[in-house]
Symmetry: C3
Subunit: 100 residues, 3 copies
């Protein structure tokens, strides 16, 4: 079962997370405020961002990625998939019921 | 070596994390405040939660999961295992010393 | 592509993150404030820390670890590697351009 790690600017993060749940691409999205330091166009920046951790299914992973790319304000968003090696059965069932 | 990802309500998170360390089921638990958007009973909710990231061993992973299920206020808690592909040797040794 | 999970004390986290980006060992580092409960010398402690999530390449992973060990104020820092099972192509390209 994939957890998808996405970073977004603070003013876009809540809407993006909500859209994924409302459109049944994710069962749950945890939003974690962070500070991000990165290099862009040769300069080092330090900005507020939000990490989204979206719980989805194998079947809908590609659709979730396409939708994030569509909704995301960045040209090159961080979208990464991490696979659990075990998940509590009851939680897996819940995710599979909520994501369609 | 597993990292276990658990979400908990804010008023239960500190006690849950502490219990895992006191009972030597985890060497360390990082608690990260977050906002969670999820669908429950047909409605989309947006609540404060805390992500717990518990550092444990292969040997005690099942016991840690059972204890979280026992202590957790939710019927269907998010409990997920992620396996590192490498860990600093000294840190692995420390986790293996603290978890019994 | 590895994401490296490091915990650091709040007064060292920003400098450590910035050094990794300035030295091109990471393309981006997300800094997430947390509370950490852990056992040390027989007592259970509960301290503020910061989780660093550094985006780097296979090629530079070992150098990043060595540099974190060098700069880190702890004797036994938490340094863990998690590998994505998929990353958006454009993001991978960006990381590979920024890390050298």
């Amino acid at each position: 079962m994939p957890t998808v790690y996405v970073t977004a600017p603070p003013d876009a993060a809540a809407d993006l997370a909500r859209a994924l749940v409302e459109e049944r691409l994710a069962a749950c999205v945890n939003r974690v405020p962070c500070q991000s330091v990165y290099r862009w166009d040769g300069d080092v920046h330090d900005d507020e961002e939000v990490i989204l951790l979206a719980k989805t299914t194998d079947e809908r992973y590609d659709d979730l990625v396409s939708r994030v790319v569509e909704l995301h304000p960045y040209d090159v968003p961080c979208i990464e998939r991490f696979d659990e090696s075990h998940v509590l059965d009851a939680y897996t069932s819940w995710v599979e019921d909520e994501v369609r």
